[in-house]
Symmetry: D2
Subunit: 343 residues, 4 copies
C-alpha cells in the first residue's frame, strides 16, 4: 500500500514516518509541508538520515492522489477540513490526526474551537478512531478521526467500567499531566525550554478543547450524557502523558472485581497493559511504544484510575497506524510491537 | 539568637543554612550530621563554599545545648522523637521538620507510620506550624511541628473556603505533583536521575503518610471530620510542588465572590499570592521563594483550586524560618523576602 | 540612585530586576520593552508578583532621561548602538549588556556580526566590564561593555596564568557547555523544550561571535596576539555554564604552584572560588549566584582548567550589577552576596 | 541461537533484552541477577511487561551452560573475570560488556582499575569489539571485549584520520559529555536526580579508566604510541554521549579532503552517519539507535571532530548485538535497524 503523509514536518508527522518504516506492507510515497517544501525530510529531522530520501513537497491534490492509497493528515485543525473532503472524493481512505472530525456536532465544534466548520456534511461519516472501542467501524471507515491524546488516556481506563455500569457518572474528574511534545513544534513562548524545565503548571482547566471530545465518547459508551471535570497540566518531559481519574463506584468493589472487569474487555488487547496490584503507571515505562498502561487503587466506593501513554504514539501516530492496520486487515500490532525505550 | 541545626546534611538542612545566612538577628552555631561528622559543611555542600566555615559534628546534647537558643531538627521521623524531649527539657525552643509531632494522636501516628511513638506525652504541646493558620499559638510555642510539603500546599488554598463554610466537605480531592527533592538526599532507586527524568508517576495513592495530617488540620478548621482523596505524583524537576484541588461548592459562587473570600483571609499575608483571573500557578514562578501562589477556576458549583510552592522553602525550611520569626517576634518575612529564581 | 533598565522583558532584564531588588542604594524607576509596552512587568514575569509594580513602557529618551542616573541596556546587539550614544550625551552612565561595545575594532565587529557599526566613535570610550580584570577603569567609566557569558567563564581562569607568563599561548582550547537561557527568550526552534531536552549538541564551533571578544581580551592580558579554539555546546539545563580549558604550560608546574598563582590574583576576590584539590566545578553549586568557581587538573605540562558560572548572573546581570557597584563606590558584593540555590 | 544475559538487572542488561526482542534468529533463554534472583524480569523493568516472561535467576554455571550458545556478560568489572574463563571452557562464545578484557596488559589494567587481574591468560584471546575496526577478528572470536562508551565515541571519528596518517598524534584532546545512564543503576549520590538535574560537571579529568583503553586502540591504529588528554563530563540527560575531539593536521586539508577520508573508510558502514557540511551531531538525533553520527569543522590545521552515540546502544548493548551478528554471520544490522526516537 502507498501512503501519503500530509503535514510531515511536525512531531506527529515524524512519528508516522518512524513507525511506518517498520511496516512490511506499506511504503510512504509522499510527504508534504508548506513551510519546508523542497527540502529533504531528513534535513528537517536529521534523526531520519540514512533511512529516508523523501523530499517534502507542497500539498497538491493532483500530485498526491495518484501516489497514495491511504492518506494521513497531520495538519492543524481547520486545515484538515479543507483537504479531507477532496481526498475522500478521490477515493482515498483518510486517517485524520487533527481535531476537525472528532466531534459529531458542528455546533459543539464551533463553540469550542471558535471557527466555522466548513465540512459539516462529512462529520457523520467520520469514525472516532479509538481502536479498542470502535474496531469494527474503523475497519470499514473511509475517514477515521484519530483521537486526541488526552481523550485516549482518559477514555481507555473508563470504558470497561462505564460499559459495566458500575460508576456514578456525575462526578468524574480527570487530572492529566502531559509532556511538551503534545504542544507540537510550533514556536510558542510556553514551549521554550526555559519556560518548561523545572516547572509544572495547570492550563485550560475546565476549558480545554479535548473536554467535549471526551464527554461525547463517554456519553456514547455509557448511553447517557456525561459531563466531566478535566484539568490538563504541563510537565517537563518530551513524551508521555499520565492521567489520574477520580470516580465513584455505585457500590463497593474489591480490587479483584475491578480487575475482572478490565480483563473482560482488555484481556486480548495487545496494547493495554493492566498493571499488577500495587503498581501504578509510570510514563517512562511506555516511552516510544503504543501501550496504554492502567493501574488503580480502590477504597470503598472511591476508585482512582491511573493511565500512561506516549502522547505521540498511542496518543497520536501509533494509534493512527493501529487504525490503518485495522482498515487494511493487517495484524493490528504490525510495526507497533516494540519494547518501550527505558531509561 | 544562636541556632543549632540537627541533621544538616540533607536538603532541608542545607536550605535552612541558605536562608538563615540572610538573617540579620541569628547565627548558626552548630550543625550536626551522624554520617558526615567531622567534615566541613561546605565539603558536603560545595555551594556553601566561601559562606560557611561550620563543621558538622555528631549530635551530643551536652555540646549542643549551651550553644543554641533555638533548635531546628531536620532529621528523619523516629529520630526526632528521640531527641526533641530532651531539647525541650533543656529549655530550648524547637522547630521540628520531621513528621513526629504533626499528628495529635499517637494511635493515628502509629497506624500510618508503622512505628511506636515513644514521646506521646509531648504531642499535645506541639503546635502545628502552618504559619498563616496558627500564628498566635506558634508565637508562644516551645515545640513547633513544621508541616509537610503536601499539607502546606493543600491546606492553604482550602482554609479560607472551609472557614467560610462554602464547601461540601465530603468530596475533596487533592492531586499533587512534586519535584524530586521532596524525597531527600537518601539513596533510593526511585530517586535516580534515570528513573525520574522523562517520566511521571503516581505513588502511594490513598495511602500517603501526609493524608492523615491533611485530614486532621482540615477537620479542625472546618469543625467537623473531613476525609479527603489524596494522590501524590513524582515529576522530573528538582524543586516545586503543584496541587490541584477539586471541591464542590454548597451553592454557586462567582469568581469575584471566591476572590473576596481569599482576600478576607490572605490580604495581609506576605507569602500568599492570589493570582489574577485567568492565571494559574506555575512552580517556576515561586522557585527558591517562600510564596504559595493560588489560582482557581470555577463553573457552577465545581471549583478547581491550584496552588504552587517550593517544597523546600514554604514546604519545609522557609516556613520553619517563618515560624522562628513569629516565635522570636521578628518581622515574619525576615530572611525570606526574596524574588523567585526564574528561569 | 535611580536606575533604568532598557529591554526588561528578556531573561537578563528580569535578572537585573531580581538582583537590584536586594540593593539598598538603588531604585528602578523605569523599565522598557517595545513588545510588551503598557503591561505591568509582573504580567510578563509572574515571578515578580508582589515585588514590583513597575509598568513596561516604550523607550523614549525624553521620558527615560530625567528618571535615571544609571542605565542598563539589555537589548539585542545593533539596538544598543542606536541608543547608547544619546544616553551618554544626556550624561547617563551606561552598562550595556549587548555585544555592541565589547570589541574595540569596528572592522572586527563588522566581520563577525555582519552588520555595520554605526557608533564606532564611542568604541574607544567603552571599558570592557570584566570586573576582576578592569576594576579601576570601570570605576571611572561612563560606558561599560558588559562581557559575554562565554568570555567571562574563559577569561577568568586564564587571566592569572597569562599574567604570570606560564602558558604557551598558541594552543589554547576552550570547550564550553551552556544552559539554554543564554539563547534568551526569543522564539527559536532550537530553544524549544523538545529540541533541547535529553540532547547535547555543539554549535558554531570556531565561528561563535564570542571568539574575537575572548581573543582580544586574552591578547591584551598576555601582551601578544592570541588565537584560540573555541567550541560552544548546548545542554539541557536552564542556567549554568561550564568551560573546560586545555592549555600547555611552558614548563611543568605542581598543583601547589598553580594554586599559588591563582591565589596571588584572586585571594581577595569575593566572587572567585578556587576549589580544593581534587574537586572540579559543578554548575549546580553556583546557580543563581555571582560566583565563578575554578578547579584544575595538571599533569606534566598539560593543564586542564574548569570554570563554572551562572550565565545569567556572573555571565550577564550579576556582573553588570557588580560593575555598577564599582562605578558608584558601593561595596562590590552589594545585592550579590547570596548563597547558590541548590538543588 | 540461544542467548544468556548474565547481569540482566542493569541498564545494559535491559537494553540487550530490548534489542534482542527484535532479532529473528535468537532467543533469550536465561537472565541472571544476584540481587533480584527469583523475580520476573518485568518486575524489575516494568517496561518489559507483555514482552518477556523471563525470570531472573542466580548465576549457576551448570544451569546456564546447557541453555546458551552465546553469553553476554553485563556484570561489573572484576566479576566478569571470575565468570568468563569457565564460560569459555564450556565452549560458549562470550561478549563481555565489562572492562575486564578490554586492555591487553595486565599491568595497565591493574594500575588503572586498582584490582588484581585474575585471568590474565585469556587477555590475549579477547578481541576488542569495536565492530567497524575489528570486524574480521570479531567474526572468529570466542571472547569479545565490548568497548566502553567513551572509547567508542572517540575512536570511531579518529580511526580514518589515523589510518591515513594525517594527524599530529601528540596533541589529541577529547572532551566528552555523557548522559547519566552511563553510571548504571547503582545507588550513588552523584546519580540522584537532584544532584544531576540543572547541572553540568567535569569528573575524573586525565584519570578516567577509559583513557588507557582509548590510548591502546589509537596506538594500535596509528602504529605508534599515542597519549591523549581526556575529560569526561556528566550532563543532565538519560542517554547520549557527545565527544568533541581536538586534533592538529600535519598539513591543511579542505573539508572535501577530510570528507573523502571518512568516506573511504565508512562509506559502507551502516551505523556511521557522516553529517552534511555545516551540521554537527546532536545526541537527540541518535537516541535509542546504534548510530554514531560524525561531523567536523576545519580551519587551517585545526580540526574539531564531533561524534554522537547513544551510550547504551552503540556505546554498549547495541554494539554487543552488532558483534554477535558478526560472530554468527547474520546481517550486521539485524535487530538494530531502527530509526532514532525523536523527540
Amino acid at each position: 500500500m502507498n501512503i501519503a503523509v500530509i503535514g510531515a514536518s511536525g512531531y506527529t508527522g515524524l512519528e508516522l514516518v518512524r513507525i511506518l518504516a517498520n511496516h512490511p506492507h506499506t511504503t510512504i510515497t509522499c510527504v508534504t509541508s508548506e513551510r519546508f517544501a523542497g527540502q529533504p525530510l531528513s534535513n528537517v529531522f536529521p534523526s531520519l538520515a540514512a533511512f529516508s530520501d523523501l523530499r517534502l513537497e507542497s500539498f497538491d491534490m493532483s500530485r498526491v492522489s495518484p501516489r497514495a492509497d491511504i492518506v494521513f493528515t497531520a495538519v492543524p485543525h481547520t486545515e484538515a477540513m479543507r483537504i479531507v473532503p477532496s481526498l475522500l472524493q478521490q477515493g482515498k481512505r483518510v486517517i485524520d490526526l487533527s481535531a476537525d472530525f472528532r466531534l459529531s456536532s458542528k455546533t459543539t465544534y464551533e463553540a469550542w474551537y471558535g471557527h466555522q466548520h466548513t465540512s459539516p456534511d462529512i462529520l457523520s461519516a467520520a469514525v472516532y478512531g479509538l481502536s479498542e472501542l470502535n474496531r469494527s467501524a474503523i475497519r470499514r471507515a473511509n475517514l477515521v478521526a484519530n483521537p486526541g491524546c488526552y481523550p485516549t488516556s482518559i477514555i481507555l481506563p473508563l470504558m470497561p467500567l462505564l460499559k459495566e455500569g458500575v460508576l456514578r457518572t456525575g462526578t468524574i474528574i480527570a487530572d492529566s499531566k502531559s509532556g511538551v511534545s503534545g504542544a507540537g513544534r510550533a514556536l510558542k513562548t510556553n514551549s521554550l525550554f526555559c519556560e518548561v524545565s523545572e516547572g509544572c503548571s495547570a492550563y485550560n482547566v475546565l476549558q480545554h478543547r479535548h473536554q467535549p471530545e471526551i464527554e461525547e465518547q463517554l456519553s456514547r459508551i455509557a448511553g447517557n450524557p456525561i459531563k466531566i471535570t478535566f484539568s490538563p497540566h504541563l510537565i517537563p518531559m518530551n513524551r508521555g502523558m499520565l492521567s489520574t481519574i477520580y470516580v465513584t463506584l455505585r457500590r463497593s468493589l474489591t480490587p479483584v472485581q475491578i480487575r475482572d472487569i478490565f480483563k473482560k474487555y482488555y484481556r486480548r488487547e495487545r496494547f493495554i497493559r493492566l498493571l499488577p496490584d500495587g503498581v501504578l503507571p509510570h510514563t517512562g515505562r511506555i516511552r516510544g511504544s503504543n501501550f496504554c498502561d492502567i493501574g488503580f487503587v480502590v477504597k470503598g466506593t472511591r476508585l482512582v484510575l491511573v493511565s500512561a501513554i506516549d502522547n505521540l504514539v498511542k496518543g497520536a501516530s501509533g494509534q493512527a497506524v493501529q487504525n490503518m492496520n485495522i482498515m487494511l486487515g493487517y495484524p493490528e500490532h504490525t510495526a507497533l510491537d516494540t519494547i518501550p525505550l527505558y531509561p
